[in-house]
Symmetry: D3
Subunit: 301 residues, 6 copies
């Protein structure tokens, strides 16, 4: 005797019904946007931007153009499909809401942004190369730096989010989290020459604004200090609540910066610092001193 | 002239022999439980619980039932196979140990738990939606939140662990670690409406007990303070050594809570706090203040 | 009307040209080293070292030898291909630089190191088993501990780096980062019986030296304090700038240790400690005390 | 110097333009029906009909029902997609032609026919088992007889053709040709207990009518003798032009039967016979005698 | 409104029940032997026999040995699995029948036959090279001749059939039919230096006996003339009923040779000949003459 | 106890040594041309020629150009690799033989031929549409006619053979045989508007010459009558030995035409005819009459 599969399926169906979410008896609907499909699209965009790193063999001008163009076109149509899925889901849940622009319009505008995105990514790669003494070449940076991978995802996700595909953008961001342990909300605005070193555990919130030439190390949090609630006690969504980081700031590993504060241009924030107020340009902030003493235990599990 | 492959293989064989572990001359044995197979089983369970998010197209009642039932049944038989592998390995190494229950019995009971697991996961999703101002819908939460993915894995692993498949459970937990950077031991007991935001670096130990409606941010550790050793100096395994977190507690990013202490209901533990003693209900704990001063170096690598 | 794919491709081509990097009109060049191919090679090496964990069914002496030998040989030839790609790229960019040794020579020497690497990995597995009260067997450790997975990658990457394949080595390291959130530079020198528990967020820099029987928890940074610059202001690469950790040291979660300092044998460094000076053998270092007080906000995003 | 890829692509484009077929400047159209997708659908239908032969492990009533139902539902939706592609193509080319029925209607009716198709296929399998002295079981017949595989494809293709999906049906037939070297036009009407032994080279034309319990060997042709042309000299399509084979006829290897003739019930047509006139029930037809004589050459290539 | 999937599944279940075959309410049984798994095993055996043709890169003695040994061992264990499935099916259907030998015994003996099989295949390849004026090398023969591919399958299937795995053997034969349009029953006994040229449509029956150095062209049938029936009218299975072809015979395209007759050593059978009586050694048999005359129709479809 | 894998591998190695073929102790050599790689290249060429049939979604001029160009370029580089493998094998076996042209030269010329090949294939498709009353559109012809698939392969193989890649060409031809049961030697010269209907079993020899607008049915052989041998008794390779088929000839199913004879323009050759002498233009050839008589047996197996 094994499990009663029919009973389990029936019970699941009953439980799903109680949850009053999407499955409500219609035969066929658009699927939700697919992480797998978007992962493929990001890979294709990446290959269109950096064809040799993706393994293109033919480096003649037209060889690269065909390779790049074919993968890009494939990516763009895949984005159209996934954004149409997002819009179909919107239409189900917010009947009144009209998506101002079609998926094809969104993707068309996204396509025109790509050359600029490429240039910004080149500045990011250069910043990584210049900021890390262990890097021997910009190629090595592109091939092996997890922070760079996360930034490539972010610049794509940010553009899609701004153009009206927030769920698709968020899924793209989650792919970067899975690959690099770095969580950047697509809403965050980040200038050029941005470098995240090591990067595991970095969290950058939705309304963060980052200037040019900023460098961030692992486990840095740029978060919210407090969430506003409305009269009914529900969270108010979308308000500015994360830091503004001006140009040329460095934030060392483990620093936590919270709230709509401003870190002035050229400042340096030390490792593990906890900071909830603005600091003027050129500040150097460090953590309280540690003491040496007898220590009686561990932190393992 | 290249490598002498036969010599290398012989040397490896000799080294393996010295290590006195499993490979000792028999022809065929059960393989060890397979992470790849278990990854497939978790995907199938996930698809059975949330069929539309997994891409099911036919949303009629029977369409969902067939989709859900087929993937679930496939998952359950895969679990039987992997648990049989675990039991075979147990039998090899602890000849005296009888597995009290067969793999089919374990999986049958696991199957009956799934509707309840589904309901708890729905509460987790709802908690994430309510706790994160950036979330626009519960669908977005399910599709893109790494913390939710880790909790899905945990609730499956926890049930399997309790039913007598600890290695299989641990491998399921390790899949969540690989996907989300979140390390929850299958033994940890976690109540409903649990939300891990961002989540990279979260560690939750084996004997941790977490109540209802708890919220945890990235890099939180719920760990052991000290490990007991027996007379021979070996670690004593299995003893309660991790915190108890009561209902409605919030633990901010980077907090470290160690030992069998209790965090009273409704408490709030600030970011980066290091805590090794119990606190009463309603406590608000924050880190020591930081100072601003000249800072002379970096934290990069 | 959709996007003008030809225009986008042309603009990308123009942008790429400005960036003055690799694509400059030649027809065919060696591809850059491929993360996918190296991932396959690491899997194959892993299977050659631990055949039963990789699923080998035939446990007779010759069954294991054929399985192990075939996968190892496949891995070694794949490494030859990828190292040849690295050398071809070197030749393009640094025309004057002669690779002292051929890819086949490098891989041949790497092959002879594998039995020793295997023995060291066995000591690492044993250390994990002994150091974690939740581990029930060394098999469970090998199958499910992310820290062990990262150390397997590191010991391979370290050998390849030392033998003259630094980009290939760095890509291998980046695979461990993607899988486990642990970032160990291939240059780091690490003794036997090394155990990283949980491990998410661990960063170990290029010139770090770690002794025997060291244990490290999640989110530990062994980093550089300051980067030297030459007269032109460019970073000086390759200089010793990371800590020396002597034998039998334990470093708890979140500790940050920066600069070319020495942590004396048998020391214990507490969680979240920030340390930039050497400490003598047997030291116990802990973080400053936390205070309890009213707390007025959150750390979420 | 290698090829000028741009020139080749331009020349191909020019040549394609001359051919005045489908590619005429629009951005996106439905793809044509896909052989790959239809191959998957046929596999799924086959698995729904014969679940154990497709590898289903759970043989409980509900286990088989879920397996069968899930694969069948997947197949049916895939057919809907492909038939919609066929209809879209029809609409392009024959603007005036309305498809009387939607793809969903066609597939819905197809679904109701499947139990009857299953029963007929069981009679075919039984006929193969009884008609071939080398067959040891009906399972062996289902697993290894190419003729049976072709008949499974045909019964699916025939139903789809009759319901209004002729291109999809023809592609399904072409899959049988690729797998078994047997070419049965979907239009052919074939009764139960039909057995094609060996089967390579069998050709059965569009308007063929075959009764019950007919057996056919390899290389048999049931073809047209002459094609009618209309006043303009073009072929008249769709007219009855292939043989009628009544019940209980056996046609041995290599026989060629041409034109709208009738082979009477219970007849036997010998190997390699060439037949262009009707024969009454119970006929036995054989080829002209061969002679023995000096032979001076070969037939090889 | 679409199909009622539950009704279709129920009807199929009812139809399956009527057919009184294998699916009768038990939960789990061995699957039937799998064509996919056997296809993999044949590929592996082929690679073990002809490693360079399968793409092995390392041509050193030990490189080839590891490659060959690993793929062979994998194939042999896969055969054990599939033969166990066959035996389990036998046990279900013929409860009284004991399989005299275990799957491992069968495969062990099969393994010892492989070197001899390899030598015979080399003689076949050589015969093809010498017998076809278009062949430039034996490598070309091995890489591209469909007849050779069919003979490789046959020699494997014949050994497995003789050792007691007839269904597995028949599936292996059906793979050759799918790949080359050649249908050789595993029971047929075929001497060395055997060459099938072109081969589409060749059929060789179960009790055929073929000597050394025989050459056969496309569409040749070596079949049975009449089937014996027992008192109840059922076919008597297993009796000698196919031709004996002695050494050095050539049979040209389309010849049909039927019944337990003997074609004497050194004979030549012309194309399209229909032959049902024995011929002495050295015979030359040709078809009746054709006549030229007005021809009034086609043979198309 | 199972098989002794080492003994089997050793015996295979010994047998391989005896066969004095390629494996002779060197470490690494070019692999032989790969059927799998060439299958991919043919698929890519097919997609470049008929992009919509291969599933291209974007039908704008530039969308098709990128799709077509990228797949074509990929195919051409794959051909370069495989032809280099063929040349490396030539160099091994015929040390004296210089390949007159490099692989890149061959492929470059092949690329310039593709537009012409495309036009010829369009004429073939049109001929199929016009010649088969069951065809409803040229799209259906391209998607489902096995004879057309074989002709696509042949026109590619023929060009490669003429340019100096005979083994690669032969493998391409063998792919058509596997897919359609049609065996056309790459050397055969075939004019435009060529149509093979059904096609299973068609064999067309190396030196065959076929004019314009020829139609051929299944199981037609255009073969050699006798092979020339030199003084040592070895076959003379390469001599004209197959038929010349002039324009506008139709050859019905099963006809066998052997030797360097000429079938005059506009002739019609009846089904199953055996023909070894030339016939003048406008001939109509039919088979000898069949007789009806008592028939006493079968042709099954």
């Amino acid at each position: 005797m094994t499990w009663k599969i029919e009973t389990v399926v029936d019970d699941l169906r009953a439980a799903r019904k109680k949850s009053r979410r999407l499955q409500n008896g219609e035969v066929r609907k658009a699927p939700l946007p697919s992480a797998r499909a978007l992962g493929g699209a990001v890979d294709d965009i990446n290959a269109a931007l950096f064809p040799r790193h993706a393994g293109a063999l033919d480096h003649s001008a037209s060889g690269l153009a065909f390779y790049s163009g074919a993968r890009l076109n494939q990516a763009l149509w895949a984005l159209v499909d996934q954004i149409e899925n997002e819009h179909a889901f919107d239409a189900e849940t917010h009947a009144a809401l009209a998506n101002a622009r079609s998926a094809e319009e969104i993707v068309s505008e996204f396509a025109t942004l790509l050359p600029r995105i490429y240039e910004t990514l080149e500045s990011d790669v250069q910043a990584a190369f210049e900021g890390d003494p262990s890097a021997q070449s910009t190629e090595e940076v592109l091939l092996s730096f997890p922070g760079v991978k996360a930034v490539v995802h972010h610049r794509i996700a940010h553009a899609l989010n701004a153009l009206g595909a927030p769920i698709v953008a968020r899924i793209v961001a989650s792919l970067a989290h899975a690959a690099a342990g770095i969580d950047i909300h697509p809403g965050a605005s980040i200038g050029g020459s941005f470098f995240i070193d090591h990067g595991t555990g970095v969290v950058i919130g939705e309304t963060t604004v980052i200037g040019e030439r900023v460098r961030v190390y692992q486990a840095v949090t740029l978060g919210a200090k407090r969430f506003s609630v409305d009269e009914s006690g529900a969270l108010v969504k979308g308000q500015p609540r994360h830091p503004i980081i001006e140009d040329d700031v460095v934030i060392y590993a483990g620093a936590t910066i919270l709230g709509r504060i401003t870190i002035g241009r050229g400042s340096s924030i030390g490792g593990n610092v906890w900071l909830t107020r603005s600091v003027p340009p050129g500040s150097n902030i460090v953590q309280a001193q540690v003491r040496s003493e007898t220590f009686d235990g561990g932190a393992g599990i």
